[in-house]
């Protein structure tokens, strides 16, 4: 076989191995627990996918869900990104057609891992586009196992990000290709995949700002050419029109601030093209003067118009989530509901290390090499690196968008590094022959070796031409050997670290918990499903369940019951009303509960198990959110004890002790743990006496994690239940 064909085959094999690794490292949760949808939002996606599969696309598109946000309801079809549901429904239908009858749940569970293998391949493509195939293989390998991406794409985490990262990387790849070739075909493909991205994730805004920024930067650097004009104009027009087809996006591209940059760039590009045309007509000297003034005026005018339109609210102002990208303290003051979500917090340094590990150091190395030869594509990567790093620092969950660029640049860094240090002229050919024959048991090991071999061969060919004969002395050689082995060791450590992080931090479904008893046997704690299933079987089908919004999607998806608020959080007032009820005393709360037609109240209590994510620990956020809407009824400071501590025991503040949340949580707990019993989630003594007059316990799960109550019904004469003294 020819050398190039051999290499081609080798690359395909390596990519396949990377894909397999990417998929299999995401299966911990399935092996450890079961094929189950994880966490909160995926339950909504799963429920809508089921609806789509059962009722067809048009029903889905027009779906008004009366089971959520009672009594308001939710227009589901118009308020979601349908990409992920349509994707899995299509896969399901295709599999069904070819005779592979799988459960829709399994399609949903394994969608993210499968797409992550595609992401690895897309990463290879983009790196290969910018640099070369060796860097591409490194980048793909990093992408396959980087915990920053795994955190959002393990089996069961059926969320938009699962497919969106693939789309992000692939759209960027197509964009770079179209800029390089100036091919309208590729820019159309870019627009198409941009449309797919818009349908899949709100993060599409990143693309629609990143690409114009790239174009704008190229213009500023004086790199304007017709290729850029063709690709951007095609992309913008088709992409924007296509994106407007998604009801949730609608006409936003025409009036929201997030999309203005792309519009402005589009206009600017037309002027540039016009100027360029003029340039070929008028003499050089005149043109420069005309052009400069003209350009300045245009830009100034555009900014003025933008400012005017924004201030007069013609253009929708930035949403709270975007403000919090510029000012990390903004959300905490103005939109507590955003700040209350842990994934919206600013990122801690340890998080970077945990999610990216050694890539954090390889990333700048790659950046350095990129700066060495600035092509259009490489400028794009630099911009992406800068923006991605900034956003990742602001919000924990945006590490996700940073991960691809970190992997790409680290791949470039690693490959350049190996190119220099793996240059053992004598040993190179022998090495390649040996590793071909050697049957290797460990795929990871094999991959590393194959990679080394590829680079070695490449170096062999490239170096031969540049430096024909510069024999190494033994000392340099041993230094090379040492450095290479240390770096290889670090890369192996990275793989081990990724596996460890995936297995320990990112593979818990959070619906099901696991614990170990004294003998080391695994115990499955299944309280959530116990309670949800109880609700399904033992309450009326139209029962309205009130809970904090975190459990809304799960209640709808697992228990199939009507909820008042859920993770969609579109109506802050409604959520604040829930907070008001939970923080109110029984009498007031009972009244609101009755006006809202609530049948059951659900609280989550982790004090018996030591589960810290329970409602009492979220209670302060509830009060803060409620305070924004009902400043007269809720005061955060009332819920601290006399020493200013957050106390739940007998010393708790009167407001705390009389609040419904506190009562529902601790009702009869002291009968179970004893008067001196401890609340293991907070390491405090449980309150010794909790009375409950207006509500009665209907169910408590076996580990007390989920407690269900119902408001006592008024008597025949419509009077409230009697109150104990």
């Amino acid at each position: 076989m020819e050398e190039s064909k051999k290499l081609y085959l080798l690359k395909i094999t390596i990519l396949l191995l990377i894909s397999v690794t990417a998929i299999s490292s995401r299966l911990f949760s399935v092996l450890r627990y079961e094929s189950i949808i994880h966490e909160f939002d995926p339950w909504f996606n799963y429920r809508t996918t089921q609806y789509l599969v059962n009722n067809g696309f048009y029903e889905f598109w027009n779906w008004f869900d009366s089971k959520s946000w009672y009594p308001l309801g939710r227009v589901v079809g118009g308020t979601l990104f349908p990409g992920i549901m349509v994707t899995s429904a299509t896969i399901y239908k295709i599999l069904d057609k070819i005779g592979l009858h799988v459960d829709i749940r399994d399609v949903c569970v394994f969608l993210a891992p499968v797409f992550s293998s595609l992401t690895a391949i897309a990463t290879y493509l983009i790196t290969n586009e910018v640099q070369d195939s060796i860097a591409g293989l490194f980048a793909a390998a990093f992408m396959g196992v980087a915990p920053g991406y795994i955190s959002r794409s393990v089996a069961g985490s059926y969320d938009n990000e699962g497919i969106a990262i693939f789309l992000l990387v692939f759209t960027f790849y197509l964009w770079l290709k179209s800029v390089r070739t100036g091919s309208m075909f590729y820019s159309c493909m870019t627009a198409l995949f941009y449309f797919y991205m818009v349908s899949a994730w709100g993060g599409y805004v990143f693309i629609i700002n990143m690409i114009p920024l790239h174009v704008f930067t190229l213009l500023l650097m004086g790199r304007y050419n017709n290729d850029i004009y063709v690709s951007y104009s095609t992309f913008y027009v088709i992409g924007t029109l296509a994106s407007m087809q998604i009801p949730f996006v609608g006409f936003q591209p025409t009036f929201t601030s997030e999309h203005m940059a792309s519009l402005g760039t589009f206009g600017l590009l037309q002027i540039f093209a016009f100027a360029n045309y003029l340039n070929s007509m008028i003499p050089q000297q005149h043109f420069r003067n005309i052009f400069r003034t003209f350009l300045m005026a245009i830009i100034a005018a555009m900014f003025m118009v933008l400012f005017y339109l924004t201030s007069t609210k013609k253009i929708a102002p930035w949403t709270g989530r975007f403000y919090s990208l510029w000012d990390t303290g903004y959300a905490k003051i103005h939109v507590p509901i955003i700040a209350s979500v842990s994934e919206h917090q600013p990122t801690a340094w340890s998080q970077f290390f945990m999610d990216l590990n050694i890539l954090m150091w390889l990333f700048p190395v790659g950046l350095y090499f990129i700066f060495q030869k600035l092509t259009d594509s490489q400028i794009f990567l630099i911009l992406y690196a800068v923006l991605g790093s900034y956003f990742a620092g602001v919000m924990v969950r945006l590490i996700l968008t940073l991960t691809p660029i970190v992997c790409i640049l680290s791949g470039i860094g690693a490959s350049e590094f190996y190119k220099v240090f793996l240059n053992f002229k004598e040993s190179a050919p022998k090495d390649s022959d040996e590793s071909n024959k050697k049957p290797n048991t460990e795929p990871q090991q094999q991959k590393k070796e194959l990679k080394k071999k590829v680079s070695a061969q490449n170096i062999k060919s490239s170096k031969k031409s540049t430096k024909p004969n510069s024999p190494f002395d033994p000392f340099t050689k041993s230094i090379h050997l040492f450095v290479v082995s240390v770096v290889t060791l670090m890369l192996i450590m990275f793989q081990i670290h990724s596996t460890w992080v995936t297995s320990n931090a990112y593979s818990s479904p959070s619906v099901v918990l696991a614990s170990y008893d004294q003998k080391g046997n695994k115990i499955i704690i299944d309280d959530f499903r116990e309670a949800y299933n109880w609700l399904t079987h033992n309450t009326k089908e139209d029962s309205k369940i009130m809970s904090w919004w975190d459990y809304g999607y799960q209640l709808a998806g697992l228990a199939n019951r009507t909820t008042l608020v859920d993770n969609n959080t579109w109506n802050n007032t409604h959520i604040a009303t829930m907070a008001k009820i939970f923080a109110a005393d029984e009498e007031t709360g009972y009244e609101i509960v009755n006006t809202l037609d609530v049948d059951y109240l659900l609280v989550v209590y982790g004090g018996i198990l030591g589960y810290s994510g329970d409602d009492i620990n979220k209670f302060l956020w509830m009060i803060r959110i409620g305070q924004g809407v009902y400043p007269n009824d809720l005061r955060e400071e009332k819920f601290y004890d006399s020493n200013g501590n957050y106390n739940i025991g007998d010393n708790a503040s009167p407001a705390m002790r009389s609040s419904i949340m506190h009562k529902l949580t601790y009702y009869r707990v002291s009968d179970f743990v004893g008067v001196d019993g401890m609340d293991r989630a907070r390491q405090q003594k449980v309150p010794s006496k909790v009375t409950l007059d207006y509500f009665e316990e209907v169910f408590t799960s076996s580990n007390w994690m989920v407690r269900l109550y119902k408001p006592k019904s008024p008597d025949i004469l419509g009077r409230s239940p009697p109150k104990s003294i």
Binding site: H101, K373, R529, E530, W534, N538, F672
Partner: protein, 474 residues
Amino acid sequence: MKFFNPFFCVSAYLFSAYVTTAVVVNTNVIKDIDLTKPLITDTIRIVVTNKIEDSANDKPIDKYSYFIEPRIFDKINEIQAAEIKTGNPLKISSNGFNEKWNAYEFFVHFASPLNLGEKISIKIYTSYFEPLSPQPNEIALNEKAFFKWTGNAYVFLPYSTLKQKTVIKLPSSNIASYNNTLAPVSVKNQEITYGPYIDVLPHFKAPVTLYFHMERTQIYIERFTRKATVSHFSNVFGIDDYTNIINANPKLASFSRVEYLISNYRGGVKNAVGKLSLNIPSDAKNVYFTDMIGNISSSEISKSTKPNMKLLKLTPRFPILSGWKFSCNYGYDSSLSNFLKFDKSSNTYNLKVQAYPDPIETAIKEYELSIVLPEGAKNIKYNIPFLTESVTITKEFSFLDFSGRPKILIRKLNVDPMTLNDVVVSYTYSNLQLLVKPIIAAGLIFLIAFACSIISSFEVTLTKINAKSSKNKN
């Protein structure tokens, strides 16, 4: 017949005397109602006499009319009649709904017509599924559950009766109240006897209501489906059961985890179902226990008292307390060769399917058994040893099926699980069928590879872009 009016009945009888001629007289009638079993059973023993009443009409009698209330009609499991002396079964035919008496009429056909003055003793057996209604509706966690039963102290018959009595066997001797005005009434342990009543008019009714305690938890299965799948390819016989268990005791007024724990500690909670145990073949593997939201991790397997079996113990997600419901799926795969026998002489396969898991003994409202045979099975014959509502053969499409697998679907309502004996299915099947799927799958993969190689050899661009030259490599 909720609002019973004796005068109405009597006048109705007088009116009817002119229309129909009652030539049959029951010399003696004993009705036994048994409330202790999963299904309520009625056994009526009647001595029938053809007596002269109207000399103009002295034909021999060949059938006996029998009425069943509409309330029970939908819930009947089976209705049988037999001659007591010989034990020979008698034919029963339905005469549809009788609007006058607001009941369904059946005819019991005698083996030979009853001539004037002759006597015959017959037995009519009815079993039906009707959960006892709890009274009161709500109880506390460990309170005793009481139930109500309403019925007729007399035997509702269209003929006059010389002597009759009704014996009701209750689940316990703890009887809270019963109608004692209809003398003679006697109570002995668990049994209440109304009668004997002498010279009872036709169509006579007197409602009685009994309140009594039941120690055993009243549970029933609302819907049970079993799917047995045969795979010759992997020698697997797969069983998948769905069951929906209802605790039909009085509703729990309020639940308290603390009280539940205390009473559990003190030796068990009343009126509750904690575990379901069933025997599965000892070579069963891939045992699962799930419900609509996923795996239930609380099941265990232990030794069974039966040979070649093991005991699968299923603990529901939550204890099925008074008035609660639960549904689940469970299943397993076992070796097909233990259930399938090949008969060389007729070249057929004989498959034995266990129709119901052993030893769950609760009444089933809706029962469904589907047996999925391998794709290409032909000449399907079946032998079902119990009564069915319907048996249909349809097609099912599973993994890589093209022509579909034949599926035998057996439906039955109001089932007594004791009657669900093994179903035997026989069919012919060619072993060449085993090769079809691998060949098709291999062919498809080959086709895809072939298509790929063809597509890749096409030039898709209109003008050749020299990619290498414009790529900024150096």
